[in-house]
């Protein structure tokens, strides 16, 4: 590595750091793991090791760890030590959060970025302060912004789920909680509007509606079930081959022990080729929206769903109809899973009396 340090400032040349003894990275004689660093990174991490060794918790360590994190956001020791120093200095953690806003977007895929936020927001300085609501709702807004950049980021989504269940599910925030969950549903609708195939949003909807407590206004579960089934049907009609919407529909039915056969009228048109005169005699049925105009039919999830409906009928005739549909999946519409469909046929026929 060349020694062209003209453009970079090194801690080694800074008199303010003269009291710290830099500690070189352990140079391993093993060729499996030799170490070559850029000069700037080597210098910073040498001083970082020196700081740790000395137990230095002065404000300058915040600059040093920030520098290392910017060069390598996966350096978990730098994150860990930074948090310790923040606490030791009783630093204003809201300012740290704002600094993290920039880093989170920059290093969206690094889990440390999100874990650090978790530690900050959980700290009583923020979570038990008078302005805690302000900080927490700001987090939700910030996450929404990050999801505009990367709408399926796993860390970002799980951070949101964690925030909601940790701070807005206990009932301690009363009215404000109601408001947050109401807004959450509106935001979900908007996210699905933007990309109806985003499985992360569908998962999140299930989490909000069925797995994180019962919202004010949602006490009548029958109404909620109906609403969710109608919602899924509506989105399926827009993009019939979207597995996320079908999985959601199945999830709602399974979760509430409802029979798939309730949906057969809705599903049938999706499991058949479009008939040429369909447009002419189309009757608008609000409860069972038809496939959108350009949609490719039949679609795999609908054939599969209808086959499940038949299979649950249990008569020989029903099972044979189901087997017919599975055959069409195995040989025509979903050949990559041929083995699976053949397994379903075999299993179903085996239980029939000879």
């Amino acid at each position: 590595m060349s020694a062209s340090s003209d453009s970079i400032e090194l801690y080694a040349d800074d008199p303010e750091w003269a009291d710290i003894e830099p500690v070189r990275q352990y140079e391993n004689p093993n060729p499996l793991a030799p170490i070559f660093y850029t000069e700037e990174y080597r210098d910073a991490t040498d001083y970082f090791r020196g700081v740790v060794k000395k137990g230095d918790m002065s404000p300058r360590v915040l600059d040093l760890t920030e520098k290392i994190i910017r060069l390598n956001p996966a350096h978990y020791s730098a994150w860990q030590y930074r948090y310790k120093v923040l606490l030791a200095l009783k630093s204003p953690l809201d300012l740290e959060l704002r600094l993290m806003d920039e880093l989170a977007v920059k290093f969206l895929k690094t889990y440390q970025v999100w874990h650090h936020r978790r530690l900050l927001i959980s700290h009583p300085q923020l979570s038990s302060s008078k302005s805690s609501s302000f900080y927490l709702t700001a987090e939700l807004r910030f996450i929404a912004k990050c999801l505009v950049v990367d709408s399926k980021n796993y860390h970002t989504w799980s951070y949101r789920q964690w925030l909601l269940s940790n701070f807005f599910s206990g009932g301690e925030r009363g009215k404000e909680e109601e408001e947050v969950w109401k807004k959450e549903m509106e935001w979900i609708e908007q996210m699905i509007e933007e990309d109806v195939r985003n499985n992360s949003v569908w998962h999140h909807r299930f989490f909000v509606v069925f797995q994180s407590g019962i919202r004010v206004g949602d006490e009548d579960r029958e109404v909620v079930r109906r609403r969710e089934i109608d919602f899924a049907k509506d989105k399926i009609s827009l993009a019939p081959s979207n597995p996320s919407a079908w999985n959601y529909l199945r999830g709602v039915l399974d979760n509430n022990n409802l029979p798939y056969s309730d949906l057969s009228i809705f599903v049938r048109p999706y499991a058949q080729a479009r008939s040429p005169d369909a447009e002419a005699d189309e009757v608008i049925d609000l409860e069972n929206p038809s496939p959108s105009k350009g949609a490719q039919l039949p679609c795999v999830p609908a054939i599969e769903f209808l086959a499940d409906v038949y299979e649950s009928g249990k008569s020989r005739d029903d099972i044979e109809k189901a087997a017919q549909l599975w055959k069409s999946l195995a040989n025509e519409y979903d050949t990559i899973r041929k083995k699976y469909w053949e397994y379903r046929i075999k299993e179903a026929l085996e239980v029939l009396p000879a």
């Binding site: 990275q25 978990y76 999140h204 999985n247």
Partner: protein, 327 residues
């Protein structure tokens, strides 16, 4: 540029051997936090290709031991790094494969691992406190390899995994999180080690896993995401444990993995045309082994280690891979 007919074993071996040499690049120093894991990935890939001797045993053991964090009682990813459960599992796996477990202070490592369990039952990765079902798997796997599973609070561990189960049959990284093939693997494998596969909704989950295969043969980790070679391993290993591996179109998946090889310098990438790395090289080779690819050594999908090593320790669970083809 693709070679979709065969696995380029000599090139992959050369690629893995070359990893430690000539590393004057940025990527290398940025990944110091994964160094010990990388050695485990490389070693396991070599074992599966029946080339264990390609890396020097003593040097490797020396490096592993230089990553020991004496203060914490675990292994860091790199000398001078703080102990982390990911690195600790890799260290144990390497030492088990190299038959050198006697080098470590087992009671101390067990203490370190158990200290990471949280009141909820999940494990943290280190004292910084990130929690993830991945770390629960690391703990269960490591304790099992050390023969110290009896010291684990199994009920508590299983309870957390159970709380990560989703409506689609899959598992997420923490409570409330979306199903993801990587998390499905760690949860299913951990439950397999603990003999608690009764917690899994077999049919729903196996179907969700089979649904990960795309028309081009590759597997993705979640609906509507891109295919990636590493998911080949996660999905296949979970399916092997559920004894449903035959649901996958093996020919198409094999050609997808083989098409992600670098035919000039060896190694396997996440998908055709991308840069290779040792992580995807292991998971590509491991998936091919489970698919019965000719000439490869059997891989244990639960521990992601050579099957013979796990059998010798009496730890084999009832998974099922595809029969090895002779040609």
């Amino acid at each position: 540029m693709t070679s979709d007919s065969e696995l380029l074993v000599p090139l992959h071996v050369a690629y893995i051997k070359s990893l430690g040499e000539n590393k004057d690049d940025l990527v290398y120093h940025m990944t110091a936090h994964l160094r010990l894991n990388a050695i485990y990935w490389g070693l396991t890939a070599l074992c599966i290709m029946n080339q264990k001797e390609a890396l020097d045993r003593e040097e490797m053991i020396g490096f592993v031991m230089s990553c020991w964090d004496d203060e914490a009682g675990g292994f860091g990813a790199h000398p001078d790094h703080d102990a982390h459960i990911l690195a600790t599992l890799s260290a144990i796996q390497i030492l088990v494969i190299q038959d050198a477990l006697d080098r470590i202070d087992i009671p101390r490592v067990v203490k370190f691992i158990l200290s990471l369990q949280q009141p909820s039952g999940v494990f943290a990765g280190d004292s910084f406190g990130e929690v993830d079902t991945r770390f629960s798997y690391c703990a269960v796997n490591a304790l099992s390899l050390l023969g110290k599973l009896s010291e684990l609070d199994v009920e508590k561990t299983v309870a957390y995994i159970r709380s990560c189960k989703n409506f689609d049959g899959g598992f997420g990284a923490c409570i409330g999180a979306e199903s993801h093939a990587g998390q499905v693997f760690v949860c299913v494998a951990a439950l397999a080690i603990l003999d608690r596969l009764d917690e899994v909704d077999h049919e729903t989950l196996a179907w969700w896993l089979a649904e990960r295969q795309l028309p081009n043969g590759g597997l993705n980790g979640r609906p509507e995401k891109l295919e990636d070679v590493c998911y080949s391993f996660w999905v296949l290993s979970a399916l092997s444990i559920l004894q449903k591996l035959s649901w996958i179109d093996s020919d198409k998946l094999s050609s997808f993995i083989l098409s992600a090889q670098d035919p000039d310098s060896g190694g396997i990438a996440d998908r055709p045309g991308d840069m290779v790395d040792v992580f995807h090289t292991l998971f590509g080779v491991a998936a091919l082994s489970l698919l019965g690819y000719p000439g490869l050594v059997d891989l244990d999908p639960v521990y992601c280690m050579p099957a013979s090593v796990i059998e010798a320790k009496g730890l084999r669970k009832s998974w099922q891979a595809l029969e090895r083809r002779s040609k």
